[in-house]
C-alpha cells in the first residue's frame, strides 16, 4: 500500500516556478530520499504532502486521505521536521516538548527521554537562544516522540556537525528498521545512499529520475584507478586487454572498467607491475544522477539544433 502518493501534483507559481505533474509513491516501511538543487521544488513538495498548501491541480494522498482536505487528521500521523525551524513563543525546550505532547495527546515521555539522551540534548535551554544544532535536535525529538508511523524530514542534517549528523542518521535508520515510512530531502548524496531504499531527483519542478539504491549498490561494473611508478609500466599496462575510461599520462595513471568479479584477475595482472597506487572508484548516487542530468542536457541540445532547422 502506498502510504504517501502524489498524483500529477502541480503547483504553478508562474514564470516557470513551482512543481509540475509530480508522481511519487512511498510504500509502507519504505524510505525515500529526495534531492535537487536549491529552488527546484523540494520544500514545496513536502509542504503539499503535509497539507499546508493547496495544489493547483493533482492530489496528494497520505494513508489514502487527501492531504489538503484532511490536513488535521494526517498531521497527527506524521513526525515532521521542517527545513527552517520556527518555534512557538515558549520559554524552554521542555516547555515546547510538553506543549507538543499535549497537542498529540501523548502522556508517556519515556521515548522522548531516550531520544534526548541519545542526541545529548539539554532541553532546559532557552528556546530563543538555542544554536542551530540544538533547535534541530529539539525538533527531531518533537517529531519522533509520538512514535508516528510516517516521518517527513526537510533537509534535517543541514548545519549539523559530523558527530550530530551521525547520531541523527543512526536514529533515522532505527526508525526505518522499525517499519516507519520515511521521506527525507537532503543535499548530501552520501547520507541518502546509506539510508534510503529509493531516491527521487527533482530538477526545475520536474521529477527526472527515481532510482532504486539496491541497483546502484549492486552494479555489476567497477572502475579502478591505477598509478604506476614508471612510464614503462604505464605504457606496458595500456597494452593489456582492459576497457580504459581515462588516461592521465602525466601522472602515469589509468582508469579501467571491469566486471564486478574481475578483481582477482586484475590483481594477478598487476602482480607483474610496480604499482604506486590503486583505488576502486565506487559507482555512487551522485555519478548516477550526474549521468542522467548530463544525458538530458545533451538531448535538449539536440532538440534545439533540430528545432533550429
Amino acid at each position: 500500500m502506498n502510504v504517501i502518493e502524489t498524483q500529477n501534483l502541480t503547483k504553478d507559481y508562474g514564470e516557470g516556478r513551482g512543481i509540475f505533474d509530480l508522481n511519487l509513491s512511498v510504500k509502507e516501511g519504505e524510505m525515500m530520499g529526495y534531492v535537487g538543487t536549491n529552488g527546484s521544488g523540494k520544500t514545496t513538495t513536502i509542504r503539499h504532502i503535509m497539507g499546508f498548501l493547496k495544489p493547483t491541480s493533482g492530489t496528494v494522498f497520505v494513508t489514502g486521505l487527501s492531504s489538503w482536505e484532511h490536513s488535521s487528521e494526517i498531521v497527527k500521523k506524521i513526525g515532521y521536521v521542517p527545513g527552517e525551524i520556527a518555534f512557538p513563543d515558549l520559554k524552554t525546550g521542555i516547555d515546547f516538548l510538553k506543549c507538543q505532547a499535549d497537542f498529540l495527546g501523548l502522556h508517556d515521555m519515556t521515548y522522548a527521554n531516550t531520544l534526548i539522551e541519545r542526541l545529548q540534548l539539554d532541553p532546559r535551554a532557552n528556546l530563543k537562544r538555542m544554536s542551530k544544532g540544538m533547535k534541530q535536535k529539539t525538533a527531531l525529538v518533537a517529531a519522533l516522540m509520538n512514535d508516528a508511523p510516517i516521518i517527513i524530514l526537510d533537509e534535517p542534517t543541514t548545519g549539523l556537525d559530523p558527530l550530530m549528523r551521525a547520531a541523527f542518521l543512526d536514529i533515522i535508520r532505527e526508525e526505518h528498521k522499525k517499519g516507519k515510512t520515511i521521506f527525507m530531502s537532503s543535499h548530501s548524496f552520501d547520507e541518502l545512499e546509506t539510508t534510503c531504499d529509493k531516491v527521487a531527483l527533482i530538477n526545475d519542478g520536474h521529477i527526472i529520475d527515481i532510482c532504486n539504491m539496491q541497483d546502484i549498490r549492486s552494479r555489476s561494473i567497477k572502475e579502478f584507478k591505477i598509478e604506476f611508478h614508471t612510464k614503462e609500466d604505464y605504457l606496458r599496462f595500456l597494452s593489456e586487454n582492459y576497457e580504459k575510461t581515462r588516461l592521465q599520462e602525466q601522472y602515469n595513471q589509468v582508469t579501467i572498467r571491469v566486471g564486478a568479479d574481475a578483481a582477482s584477475q586484475l590483481l594477478g595482472v598487476l602482480k607483474h607491475y610496480n604499482v604506486k597506487f590503486i583505488s576502486e572508484l565506487p559507482y555512487t548516487l551522485e555519478m548516477h544522477f550526474k549521468n542522467i542530468l548530463f544525458s538530458n542536457l545533451n538531448k535538449e541540445q539536440k532538440n534545439k539544433t533540430i528545432s533550429n532547422f
Binding site: 536549491n38 527545513g83 549528523r165 543535499h187 597506487f277 583505488s279
Partner: protein, 321 residues
C-alpha cells in the same frame, strides 16, 4: 629596508587571534585560542557545533569583547577599532537572519550603502555565479527558501570585493552544484591574494581549499596542521572481500611477511587492513595468489582524522523529569 620585512614580528598577520579567552562559565567559551592567517592564505576551522568556532569568529568580527587576549585584523584590534576595518571584511554568519519587509534587491542596496561601496560590475558577476535571478530578488526576503537566503548572504558578503573573508559555514544549505561554484570562487579569491578564514562541516570543502587547518574542541585548539601533510599520508586502508574463509585465512597467514600490514577488522570472509605504500606491490602479489572477490581502498581522510579528536563520549544530562 628588506630586513624589516623579513622579520615575522614586524609584519602583522592579516588575521591574528592571540591567547583569546572568553569564559561564559560552566566550561563554555573559548580558552587561550591562538591562530593567524596570512595574506593569500586559506585557513580552515573545524569543530563540532558548540566547540567555539562561532565565538572565535564573533570576536574577530568585533561583536564581542575578549576577557583576555586579542583579536586583530590587518593589525587593528577588532573590538576597539572595528570601524577602521569594517569595509575590508566580507562576513558570512553561521545563521542568516535577513531584515524583514525588504525585497532581495532592497537588501542588496541597503548592504551596499552600509559598505559604502557600489561595485555594480562585481555585483552582477556574483549574482550570475550564484544564479540569483531577477524574479527571485524582486520577491520579499521572508518568502525566500533557505538556499536562496544563503546565496543572498554570500553575494552581499563578496560584492564589495573585500580583502579579508570570514566565512562561518558559508555553504550550509547550498546544493552540491552551488557548493562546487563556491569552492571555485574561493580558489579564485585566493589567487587574487585574499585572506580567508573558513569554518565548515563539509570536509571535502575544507580539503580542497585550505592551506592550513585547525581543529577546536571544548573551546581549545587541539590540532593545527598543514593540509597537504594529511593528503600525502603514505599509509592507506583497504577492504578486501575473499572468495571464502579459507582464502582469507591463507592470506592472513602469508601476509605476515608484510611488515607494515595492520589488521584492523576481520569478518567471516573479509578484512579491513592498512598498508604502507612501499609494501603495496607485495600486498598485491599476495592477494593475487588467493581468491579475491572485491577490493577497495580508502585513504585516511580529513574526516577520519577529525573523528579521532571527537570520539570520546560527552555527558550533558538534563532529561525531562
Amino acid at each position: 629596508m628588506e630586513n624589516t620585512r623579513q622579520s615575522n614580528d614586524e609584519v602583522p598577520h592579516m588575521i591574528e587571534v592571540s591567547h583569546l579567552t572568553k569564559d561564559y562559565g560552566s566550561g563554555r567559551g573559548v580558552f587561550d585560542v591562538s591562530l593567524h592567517v596570512d595574506k593569500g592564505e586559506v585557513f580552515g576551522f573545524l569543530g563540532p557545533n558548540g566547540a567555539g568556532k562561532s565565538t572565535t569568529i564573533r570576536h574577530l568580527m568585533g561583536f564581542s569583547k575578549p576577557d583576555s587576549g586579542s583579536t586583530k585584523i590587518m593589525g587593528y584590534e577588532t573590538f576597539e577599532q572595528y570601524s577602521s576595518i569594517l569595509n575590508h571584511i566580507g562576513y558570512i554568519p553561521g545563521e542568516i537572519a535577513l531584515p524583514a519587509g525588504l525585497t532581495g534587491w532592497e537588501f542588496i542596496k541597503m548592504m551596499q550603502d552600509l559598505q559604502k561601496i557600489h561595485n555594480e560590475q562585481r555585483l552582477s558577476d556574483m549574482l550570475a555565479l550564484f544564479e540569483l535571478e531577477n524574479t527571485v530578488l524582486s520577491g520579499e526576503t521572508k518568502r525566500m527558501s533557505l538556499g536562496v537566503k544563503r546565496k543572498l548572504a554570500v553575494v552581499t558578503a563578496f560584492m564589495s570585493d573585500p580583502d579579508v573573508l570570514i566565512l562561518d559555514e558559508p555553504t550550509s544549505g547550498l546544493d552540491p552544484v552551488m557548493q562546487e561554484n563556491f569552492i571555485q570562487f574561493i580558489h579564485e579569491e585566493k589567487k587574487r591574494g585574499k585572506t580567508i578564514l573558513l569554518s565548515s562541516h563539509i570536509f571535502s570543502e575544507i580539503d580542497s581549499t585550505c592551506d592550513r587547518i585547525a581543529i577546536i574542541k571544548d573551546g581549545k585548539i587541539v590540532s593545527e596542521f598543514i593540509a597537504n601533510d594529511l593528503k600525502h599520508a603514505s599509509r592507506k586502508y583497504y577492504t578486501v572481500l575473499f572468495d571464502n574463509t579459507n582464502a582469507k585465512k591463507r592470506f592472513l597467514e602469508e601476509s605476515k611477511q608484510i611488515a607494515s600490514l595492520c589488521l584492523i577488522k576481520e569478518e567471516a570472509d573479509s578484512v579491513f587492513i592498512s598498508v604502507e605504500d612501499l609494501d603495496l606491490n607485495l600486498f598485491i602479489a599476495q592477494l593475487s595468489s588467493v581468491g579475491v572477490r572485491s577490493f577497495s581502498n580508502r585513504r585516511e581522510t580529513l574526516e577520519d582524522y577529525f573523528m579521532q579528536f571527537y570520539k570520546e563520549e560527552k555527558d550533558f544530562g538534563g532529561a525531562l523529569k
